[in-house]
């Protein structure tokens, strides 16, 4: 099975070096890296790439913070923890094509009297200036798009951090407390350093999810230009233009972006485990 998947990747590589740029051609033979070079001079690809970077930054920072805050609030044990945990985690269980319907409405761009969704709330509480065009705005679309993504993934990050916190023996805290450390100091100097592996895991997971993000954006904005990312562009190139060579090149770029982060991480994980 593994052979099969890697075989398929090899096939994609070959396709990406080939000549099948529309559905009519049966042209064989390779053109080397030409397809890749073409991509980087394709303004639409560059646009999608920049969008993806913007999205990734906001999504990763936002989810990390939101998840960490949730974990910090719950970490010491509090009544109703199970309830809050389930509520924060449920977005993971729902398809983004379904949630997209809701978010499309929440981030509707109508304003003031006509507003719905979030704009309506801002308008009603007299914070009208916070109203936004959300995912249809020209500059901020990708930042708005990160909101539903943060909403969906922060419960996961919370669970990871919670597991991390609970894995630290209580003695460490007690010892620090006896030594007169304040709570803030305990977190900064004792707990957070212990959580380094968790931070790393979270970053890798969020990063790779971000690189291949598709459903979420497609579910909300379909193929809209302002929110185009690599996966959407690839889909368009293959489905609408049947340009397999170009599509395969985009797929390979997504794969490479993920691989450069993930492979060293995996090697590190397998090695550290070996040492145990």
């Amino acid at each position: 099975m593994a052979v099969f998947v890697y075989g398929m990747i090899g096939w994609t590589v070959k396709e990406s070096l080939g000549k099948r740029t529309n559905s009519y051609t049966t042209a064989k033979g390779l053109v080397g890296l030409k397809n890749y070079r073409d991509l980087f001079s394709d303004p639409e690809f560059v646009h999608a790439f920049q969008n993806l970077l913007k999205f990734t930054v906001v999504f990763m920072v936002g989810t990390l913070l939101a998840g960490l805050i949730m974990a910090l609030l719950l970490e010491k044990g509090i009544k109703g923890e199970g309830f809050f945990r389930s509520i924060y985690l449920y977005p993971m269980a729902i398809s983004f094509i379904a949630m997209g319907t809701s978010w499309r409405w929440l981030m509707d761009s109508s304003r003031d009297g006509k507003a719905t969704g979030l704009n309506k709330i801002f308008f009603d509480v007299h914070l009208g200036f916070l109203q936004s065009n959300w995912y249809s705005s020209e500059k901020g679309a990708m930042y708005a798009m990160a909101l539903p993504a943060i909403w969906q993934m922060s419960g996961y990050v919370m669970a990871l951090f919670l597991a991390g916190f609970r894995g630290i023996p209580d003695d460490l805290r007690e010892a620090a407390r006896v030594d007169g450390a304040t709570e803030t100091k305990i977190y900064r100097h004792i707990l957070f350093p212990q959580l380094k592996p968790t931070f790393l895991t979270v970053l890798i997971i969020l990063g790779h999810i971000s690189m291949k993000v598709f459903d979420l954006i497609y579910g909300i904005a379909s193929k809209s230009y302002v929110t185009k990312v690599l996966a959407i562009y690839m889909w368009q190139v293959i489905f609408d233009f049947q340009n397999y060579a170009k599509g395969a090149s985009i797929a390979m770029i997504i794969l490479v972006l993920i691989a450069v982060a993930v492979i060293p991480y995996l090697i590190y994980v397998v090695k550290t485990e070996e040492q145990k």
């Binding site: 099975m1 593994a2 398929m8 990747i9 096939w11 994609t12 396709e15 805050i69 949730m70 609030l73 010491k76 044990g77 509090i78 109703g80 923890e81 509520i87 924060y88 993971m92 269980a93 729902i94 398809s95 983004f96 094509i97 379904a98 949630m99 319907t101 809701s102 978010w103 409405w105 929440l106 006509k114 507003a115 719905t116 309506k120 909403w151 996961y156 669970a159 990871l160 597991a163 991390g164 609970r166 894995g167 895991t201 997971i205 790779h208 291949k212 598709f214 379909s222 996966a231 889909w235 293959i238 797929a251 997504i254 993930v262 492979i263 995996l266 090697i267 397998v270 485990e273 070996e274």
Partner: protein, 297 residues
């Protein structure tokens, strides 16, 4: 990668809270609850919108009242939407159940091998497997369609069974491997001393112990295959004959139909209900799947 991650999440005694609190601590406790409740509101807002508006008829009431609670529930949207979706829902159920079971079985065998059998290069093979979890669907999409064509699978729902089995194997293997790693080697040794081979040991000793792990893996696979959209739209080519829950939903809520709020929200809700039911009743296992699939060192 300990399998007791969940237990770590689940077991924090809250005895400390029972001690009498001084002023500052009381303040922090109130502060925490305010924060938690705020986050709860944010987390449930989208699903609230979905549920509330599915009871307001086909087009919903005026958009500006969409936050309002449906005091006089109107079920008009449910009947037609269900008629529209039920074929796809049952089709999804059919392929999701099959692909989950197959990948769970393969995953348990693989997991056993990786956990208990150190062979030359097993680390390398395992790393390649793990990377499989991170390979984007896109990277194998084009060859997969051609392969399906070649294998005469095109036009059958088995394209999706096949795709999800292949993609499910790495994560299933990892979850089973972590689970089996915690089973003491002595049990296996004892079996071997009694003259049982690896296959026999697996069947009579390991499998009966794996039931909780099967639940975890099945739930995980069920949820991800149910919610998948990319494979579904790609491999079925959007053919209505093969529409599954997510693609059918996308067709209903697609760009031309955005005025039918009530309709769209109802359809989204119906498609989410199966995974939500699983989550509500088996949430513990869902969490366990998330954590043991996350490779924490």
């Amino acid at each position: 990668m300990s399998s007791d991650l969940l237990d770590r999440v689940g077991t924090k005694d809250i005895a400390r809270n029972k001690q009498s609190l001084n002023g500052a601590e009381q303040f922090w406790l109130v502060f925490k609850y305010v924060g938690l409740c705020f986050l709860t509101l944010v987390a449930i807002a989208p699903i609230y919108i979905m549920v509330a508006n599915s009871f307001k008829g086909v087009t919903g009431v005026s958009q500006s009242a969409a936050w309002a609670f449906p005091i006089h529930p109107n079920f008009a949207a449910w009947g037609p939407v269900w008629d529209n979706l039920k074929g796809s829902i049952f089709r999804t159920l059919f392929f999701v159940v099959q692909s989950s079971i197959i990948s769970a079985i393969i995953g348990s065998i693989n997991g056993f091998v990786f956990a208990k059998w150190r062979f030359r290069g097993s680390n390398f093979v395992f790393t390649t497997f793990l990377f499989g979890m991170f390979i984007p669907y896109q990277a194998i999409m084009i060859p997969l369609t051609e392969f399906n064509h070649w294998a005469h699978l095109t036009g059958s729902i088995y394209v999706l069974v096949f795709a999800h089995v292949i993609y499910g194997i790495p994560i299933c293997t990892l979850i089973f491997r972590n689970y089996y790693a915690a089973i003491p080697n002595e049990i296996i040794e004892a079996g071997r001393v009694d003259g049982a081979g690896m296959v026999r040991i697996f069947r009579t000793i390991i499998l009966p112990l794996s039931v909780p792990c099967f639940v975890v893996v099945l739930i995980w696979q069920f949820t991800s295959a149910w919610n998948d959209f990319l494979f579904a739209i790609f491999l079925t080519g959007g053919s209505p004959k093969l529409s599954v829950a997510t693609t059918a939903l996308n067709f209903i809520t697609g760009s031309g139909n955005q005025v039918y709020y009530g309709n769209n929200m109802t359809a989204s809700l119906i498609v989410s209900i199966p995974t939500l039911i699983v989550y509500v009743f088996l949430g513990r296992y869902f969490l366990r799947g998330l954590l043991s699939g996350s490779l924490k060192g």
